[in-house]
Amino acid sequence: MNLRKFLAMFFVGGALLLTSCSDDDDSTPVNDEELITTMLVTLTDGTDTVTLRFYDEDGADGPTEPVPTVSGGPLKASTTYAGSISVLNESEDPAENVNEEIEGEADEHQFFYVTNDLGITTAYTDQECDYNEDPCEGSNARPVGLTFTLTTTEDTGAGKLRVVLRHEPNKDATGVSTGDITNAGGDPDIDWTFDIGVE
């Protein structure tokens, strides 16, 4: 009976197949291209600068707890601060400036500075047209929020400031262009709340 012979051949063949297939090529590492490690919100009234910094060394994928720090002391009452935001990926060397990406697709992104505390108000001071060559009209005049103002009242104490960056928001929805997040939709790239104080 040649069945036995066939089975023997079959096993040898199988063994060959297995050994010939095992290549040990090392896999290529992947870095999260959308990683944001650092967000810096700088508030200045011309003399003093208050910095709100968020730092998460391993981003959304990693277990390391993010570290928020507020430096430059509490905000002053009844003051208008000029604000700007910088978003970085410091896991790369040199650090990647994510602002450039946001500026490049300004019409698909918007920051929101949300607070209900101490009468603080915020307002945008930029427009999409600041980041492109097209005329400042129509939809190109909508805000992005890379720069803004923050105004405190005479109320003092502790409060919260929530900083949000959304991509593909509905920029034309009611209130969105004045910084109201309620109808914005879209997906968050950043959503972080800082503890702030006014003295």
Binding site: L3, L18, V30, E33, E34, F54, G62, H167, P188, T193
Partner: protein
């Protein structure tokens, strides 16, 4: 052809008759090739003379001349064979006939035996049901079987659940090939065109050891329509249209076969749907575009056969826009609002998030039947599975690059021998060798959820079946499988420390200085799995059957359970596997008592499945990130117990009226603390009344009521910090939705077109009352209601 042969035989006979010296004798036996049994009353015909064999199958032919004769040998149910014999040289000759004309597919040696196992719970759905789900999916059709439910992502991604278990615990055999299509993910549906199947059998447990030892949930066996060994051509075309989703499907099949055993078969399906709709709104971005093609050809002979089969499947599936959430606050908002936050106008466009899956399957098979021994089958199959998942990413440029890009290649060789020549017992033994490679494309720019790996499987089994007497069949089997997984896995340093891997697995680190604070590891894990089964089937009083079965099975962890680590973008959750996860072991006892007669019948099928080290994925915590908080889902192992019962009853009240009643219940708990297991299907109770009138062009109409109870046993919810609310809130991620009741109507008629063709017309109305409901086992239940009313028109032509 046949007639021509006879004529030839006759003419030759006349020719030879003219020779001289006619005193020779030919003696011998006519024997069944299959089992060596002598055949009584076989006929040997030559020159218009007919000789009949005696009870020992022997014959004697006298007065032959010393020339060549052509003898036609026949026996009831056998194909006649012509043998030419030179009487001058031969005086003794045994003729072999084949009683059991084999088709290339599964053999049904015993005429009345149609099940895959003798003792376990199983059920088959036939062509009629498959046709009704032509525009749906495999998972939808299988829900016709009591005890089978589904784990859905929306209405288009449907994973079958057998008696509470799904994913890697459910093995799917597609035309003799075990599907390797990344079944590990909750949102990965089987990559199968249901229209390629002629019938589908579900074995509810691991007893069908031939197919694999790790089927703790069960085995789904899809078989295509067989090509008969005769000269024929036939086929069918099926066209469907649905109101919900405003789309339809077209499927066509053609089979050509020849008496010499050759056959060809081709089949193709096209499905296109736009957004489906819930009763109150459009479920935006839920379109589907599915394509399937398969072709096979081969030879199906008396003692041997071979075939080549290839199938291609591609599916582009939109994922509900509202289910794409950014962080935990989005999830909380969605659960609270009860309405999807994105409702757009109906469209056929499929945008991100979406899945694009492609599956290639090729198979070569050969069988040979050995005299008085059995049948040997050997098969090689190749599968290539590709999965892209596109997500909404930070920039549009990035959104064009898939977030998940996996390519799974599998080669398998199996060989088995079925010893079936003895009348009262048979056994089957076989081996399997498999190599699998997973390639996770690094160009996604997203850290891999599933790493690159090589996997090696070797298995061997033996199963046997013994007919103790006319009423009792015993079956038993044992199987051994070896699995090795050899992966290249990157971990973030922080995660590596956090999981405590440095203590336990420092020896698998290959490189500690990988860019992006990562390290590269090379985990190589071996698993030895033993599975076994034993059971009995007892038939009594003609109408009753009792089946009892015990099955032991072991399943090695899948890559997702071992290696998941990080943010699963499409699910907006952080999923953590565990390198320490070991195989799970199931002991399942199942019984069924069945009564069947013309008037009525019923089946009661209780079971108990004790699973040691059951692997489950459940929400445990949240992690804060710059995008807000994300729920963390972690895999862990625990001892679990699943107790359940499937019951059904039918009654033919009158020649035109029939009712069907099905009930299934499963309760899953952890054995040590009685905590309910996550994702156990809720009990359901189906009742159907059918009116059939064969005189009116085979008219049938049925009304079905499906009642889905609320799942009252579920693991506790978790408390999470909501940045929005600025405080800890209860995340009701485990709370099941309410019970619901659905009504469906189905009607059909059949018309003759000419002599052989038939035209079938059918109309189905699903969810007649347009009830808004959510199903506990639908991952999109947090975001939107399930499907609303659907009118489905079906037109099929068989030719």
């Amino acid at each position: 052809m046949k007639r021509f042969t006879f004529t030839l035989v006759f003419l030759l006979g006349v020719l030879f008759l003219s020779a001289q010296d006619c005193d020779k004798t030919l003696t011998g036996q006519v024997i069944d090739f299959h089992d060596g049994v002598p055949l009584e009353e076989a006929t040997i015909t030559f020159n218009n003379k007919t000789i009949v064999t005696d009870s020992n199958g022997t014959y004697t032919i006298n007065n032959l001349c010393a020339v060549s004769y052509a003898f036609t040998v026949s026996h009831v149910d056998c194909n006649s064979q012509v043998f030419t014999i030179d009487i001058s040289k031969v005086s003794n000759k045994d003729f072999y006939l084949e009683h059991h004309l084999n088709e290339l597919d599964e053999v049904k040696v015993d005429g009345d035996k149609t099940t895959k196992t003798s003792s376990s719970q199983e059920e088959t759905i036939n062509k009629n049901i498959i046709e009704r789900y032509s525009s749906g999916s495999l998972g939808d059709a299988l829900k016709e079987i009591t005890g089978v439910s589904s784990l859905n992502t929306g209405s288009t991604i449907v994973k079958p659940v057998i008696q509470g278990l799904n994913g890697s615990r459910v093995l799917i055999m597609n035309n003799g090939v075990r599907m390797q299509d990344m079944e590990w993910g909750d949102e990965h549906a089987p990559n199968i065109d249901i229209n390629a199947a002629g019938k589908i059998t579900v074995v509810k447990g691991a007893s069908a050891l031939k197919y694999g030892g790790d089927a703790i949930g069960g085995v789904i066996i899809m078989e295509s329509n067989k090509a008969p060994a005769k000269d024929t051509i036939f086929g069918k075309t099926l066209l469907t249209g649905s109101s919900n989703g405003r789309g339809g499907s077209l499927t066509s099949e053609l089979i050509r076969s020849y008496e010499n055993g050759w056959f060809f078969k081709g089949q193709g399906t096209l499905k296109r749907f736009g957004d489906v709709e819930a009763p109150d709104y459009v479920l935006s971005n839920t379109g589907v575009f599915e394509k399937g093609v398969s072709a096979t050809f081969g030879v199906n002979k008396f003692t041997y056969g071979w075939d080549a089969y290839y199938s291609f499947y591609q599916n582009e599936i939109g994922v509900l826009a509202a289910s794409h959430i950014g962080n935990i606050d989005d999830l909380i908002a969605s659960i609270n609002s009860g309405q999807p936050d994105i409702i757009r106008d109906f469209t056929y466009d499929i945008e991100n998030p979406k899945q694009e899956v492609t599956h290639h399957l090729g198979r070569l098979r050969y069988f040979k039947r050995f005299e008085k021994l059995g049948k040997w089958t050997t098969q090689y199959d190749f599968q290539l599975n590709q999965r892209f998942e596109f997500d909404i990413r930070r920039t549009q440029e990035r959104s064009e690059i898939p977030s998940i890009d996996l390519e799974l290649t599998t080669h398998t060789v199996t060989s088995d021998f079925e010893f079936d020549s003895k009348p009262n017992y048979k056994f089957t033994t076989g081996i399997l060798v498999r190599y699998q490679e997973n390639f996770a494309n690094p160009l996604t720019g997203v850290r891999r959820l599933i790493p690159d790996y090589d996997k090696y499987d070797v298995g061997a089994f033996i199963t046997g079946e013994y007919d103790l007497n006319d009423n009792v069949i015993l079956d038993a089997g044992v199987r051994y499988d070896f699995n090795r997984i050899d992966a290249q896995k990157f971990y973030l340093n922080g995660r590596w420390e956090d999981r405590g891997y440095e203590q336990d697995f420092s020896d698998i680190v290959v490189d500690r200085n990988v860019t992006g604070s990562q390290l590269l590891t090379n985990p190589v894990f071996d698993y030895h799995n033993i599975s076994a089964t034993a059971g009995v089937q007892y038939t009594f009083k003609d109408e009753y059957q009792f089946r009892a079965n015990y099955a032991l099975s072991q399943r090695a962890p899948n890559p997702s359970e071992l290696f998941s680590d990080g943010l699963h973008h499409s699910a907006a959750r952080i999923e953590l596997g565990d390198l320490r996860i070991d195989q799970e072991t199931s002991h399942k006892l199942s019984f069924s008592l069945i009564k069947n007669n013309k008037k009525w019948g019923w089946e009661i099928a209780p079971y108990a499945n004790f699973i040691k080290d059951y692997i489950l994925l459940e929400p445990v915590d949240t992690e804060l990130t710059i995008r807000g908080a994300f729920p963390v889902w972690e895999y862990r192992q625990t001892d679990a117990r699943l107790l359940g019962i499937d019951a059904k009853l039918y009654a033919n009240w009158h020649s035109n009226w029939r009712t069907d009643h099905n009930f299934s219940l499963v309760k899953g708990h952890e054995t040590d603390d009685e905590q309910a297991l996550i994702n156990m299907p809720a009990p359901n109770f189906n009742n159907k009344i059918t009116f059939a009138k064969p005189d009116w062009y085979d008219f049938t109409v049925s009304l079905e009521s499906q009642y889905h109870f609320r799942q009252n046993e579920f693991p506790s919810n978790i408390t999470v910090f909501s940045p929005d609310a600025g405080e800890n809130v209860l995340l009701e991620v485990n709370t099941p939705p309410d019970a619901y009741h659905l009504l469906h109507l189905d009607t059909g008629m059949k018309f003759k077109l000419g002599t052989i063709s038939t035209l079938n017309l059918g109309l189905t109305i699903n969810n007649i009352a347009n009830t808004a409901y959510r199903n506990y086992l639908n991952r999109q239940r947090y975001f939107a209601d399930d499907l609303g009313r659907n009118f489905l028109l079906r037109l099929s032509i068989n030719y």
